[in-house]
């Protein structure tokens, strides 16, 4: 029983460490708000709607991607 409580004690202490740390923040609260907003814009807006993985979304296999790139680089060459 005491071993089990010891097992749970460390994660609980780590959790409390972070919880108290966040609670006591002053300027940090504003900074976390900015970080959250920035990450939301970056991943939920920009990544999703403006930055698709071009080869990932337009081709389904690596062979198709390799063929497309080969076509691009051999077709682009100076004649």
């Amino acid at each position: 029983m005491s071993q089990l409580s010891h097992f749970f004690q460390l994660p609980l202490r780590v959790f409390c460490f972070y919880k108290d740390g966040f609670r006591r923040m002053k300027v940090g609260k504003t900074l976390w708000l900015i970080i959250g907003l920035k990450l939301f814009i970056m991943f939920a807006v920009l990544r999703l709607f403006f930055f698709p993985d071009f080869l990932g979304t337009n081709f389904s296999t690596d062979q198709q991607r390799a063929d497309y790139v080969a076509e691009q680089i051999t077709g682009t060459a100076q004649e």
Partner: protein, 509 residues
């Protein structure tokens, strides 16, 4: 196939904007993290409450800079997939490895100890807190190491071979990639110069306090530590800059010729200490390189060859060739490159038709010229020349400021030792100037590195134009302006939070 230059230009502009914006935060993080570690070490050694307050103050500014800057580098990775898909496909096998290591190392090392650094005051032992602060500093520099290994590989591709079947450069020797001389000199020069940026940040803010006669004791102590660190780092920056220049001469001679405005190379080549470029001077066109110049005899030969009379090729030598000095020009490389690209085309066609004999023959032709493949895409040999004015003036600004900072740091060190920093307004004004000057030099260092290597995205192997995705220029243009608005908003947020915190100063006793 025609390349949409508008799309490429906007993609380049977007990448430059993102990289330069990201670089606003990185040098402060690299430099200030070590200064925080020094400040806290003194606190732990002396047990003085004043050093604790001082450490806490600079750590708060470090945290603001870190928080606003965090994850701005990830945007560059978005751009790789969308705007630079050919590049990502061809280089991903090698370029992705150091970036992945950086991501994992940064997460585990920085994120873990970062929490202890900020939340752990009075909650963990002094020794463990100090250990966490040092780990954040070391972790930040290790993150930079992996990014610069990736960048160094683009400047000097080593440890790989091109696989025509997968159309990818595949890693053959990881050790060669991480011990690439360009990556090493890039890492040492970038980190030492960032330490100077961090020192200038502390000195400028401290001098502002001295000018306003606020927090005088804290400001003087901060300057004493920052000037010591900054002086050593500024000298190290000059030494690593010299080594970096030597590597550029060996692996990217066109970049060296551009930063020096050198068109016709000579033995015992002088280095231009100050010069105004002749705007009419072009490759293959007669006429002086400068309208005014002050040169140091044999200086460039010494930097580039470590001998006083070594030959340093100029732009014309590198474009048209110089058989006397065994310099192969862009003209000849383009011919070889065209043979490589034609062989690759035949190889892919033979593979499609299942003609093994034709494939083997094409492969032999390809491998004979594969080192020049990238040159096969160049329309005109003159396209091998980067923007000389941008490279030349950016480089020279960097050198002037670097030299000035050594002298300034020396003065701060001397006057700090005498304890008279608060009695000389001229010195405080000089200190105030250091940060913006050094910040601009740090940014321009990247301009030299990246504009100087154009037209290549991967030196000698892949042209920037070819590396770009064939997408609508309007799409890239739109995201450019979205970033511009986002970055401006974040920059305003950082500056206003930072100014507010500086005005508040350290916590009251």
């Amino acid at each position: 196939m025609e390349i949409d230059l508008a799309s490429v230009n906007w993609a380049q502009a977007q990448f430059a904007l993102t990289a330069l914006y990201h670089w606003l935060f990185v040098p402060i993080t690299l430099g200030l993290s070590f200064l925080c570690a020094f400040f806290e070490s003194i606190y732990v050694k002396t047990g003085s409450k004043e050093w604790k307050r001082l450490t806490h103050f600079w750590m708060t500014l470090f945290g603001i800079n870190f928080a606003i800057g965090v994850a701005t580098g990830i945007i560059l990775e978005f751009e790789f997939g969308t705007n630079w898909s050919t590049y990502s496909w061809m280089m991903g096998d090698i370029f992705g490895a150091p970036l992945a290591i950086e991501g994992i190392a940064a997460f585990f090392l920085e994120a873990t100890f970062f929490a202890v650094m900020f939340f752990g005051w009075n909650r963990v032992s002094k020794g463990f807190h100090l250990f966490a602060t040092w780990m954040v500093a070391i972790g930040s520099s290790l993150s930079a190491l992996w990014i610069l290994v990736a960048n160094g590989w683009m400047q000097n591709p080593v440890g790989m071979r091109f696989n025509p079947d997968t159309v990818r450069f595949e890693m053959e020797n990881f050790f060669a990639v991480i011990s690439n001389p360009v990556a090493i000199s890039k890492f040492t020069h970038t980190t030492t110069s960032s330490f100077v940026v961090g020192a200038c940040f502390v000195i400028s803010i401290s001098c502002w306090y001295l000018l306003r006669k606020k927090h005088v004791r804290m400001a003087k102590r901060s300057i004493a530590v920052a000037a010591t660190f900054g002086f050593i780092a500024a000298i190290a920056t000059a030494v690593t800059g010299d080594e970096s220049g030597y590597d550029v001469a060996v692996y990217q001679p066109m970049k060296l010729a551009a930063v020096e405005g050198l068109y016709d190379g000579h033995e015992g080549q002088a280095i231009v200490a100050f010069g105004i470029l002749n705007p009419d001077k072009k490759p293959g066109v007669e006429g002086p390189e400068f309208t005014y110049e002050i040169a140091i005899p044999k200086g460039l030969s010494f930097l580039a060859t470590r001998t006083l009379n070594g030959f340093v090729p100029g732009i014309n030598d590198l474009v048209y060739g110089n058989p006397e000095h065994n310099v192969m020009g862009a003209v000849e490389k383009i011919e070889k490159g065209k043979l490589a690209v034609a062989a690759l085309k035949d190889l892919k066609a033979a593979a499609k038709e299942g003609d093994d004999a034709a494939k083997a023959e094409a492969l032999t032709r390809f491998e004979a010229n594969s080192d020049y493949m990238g040159w096969g895409y160049m329309k005109d040999p003159v396209d091998a020349v980067p923007s000389v004015p941008t490279a030349f003036y950016s480089f020279h600004y960097m050198v002037y400021v670097g030299s000035f900072i050594i002298f300034a740091m020396f003065l701060f060190l001397i006057f700090s030792r005498r304890g008279s920093m608060d009695r000389h307004v001229w010195l405080q004004l000089l200190g105030l100037l250091c940060f913006p000057l050094m910040y601009a030099a740090s940014e321009l260092g990247w301009v030299v590195a990246e504009v100087g290597r154009q037209p290549w995205v991967m030196q000698g192997r892949l042209l920037t134009d070819v590396a770009a995705t064939k997408i609508d220029a309007g799409h890239v243009q739109a995201t450019f302006f979205i970033f511009l608005v986002l970055f401006t908003a974040l920059a305003i947020a950082e500056v206003s939070i930072m100014i507010k915190q500086i005005n508040l100063g350290p916590e009251a006793e």
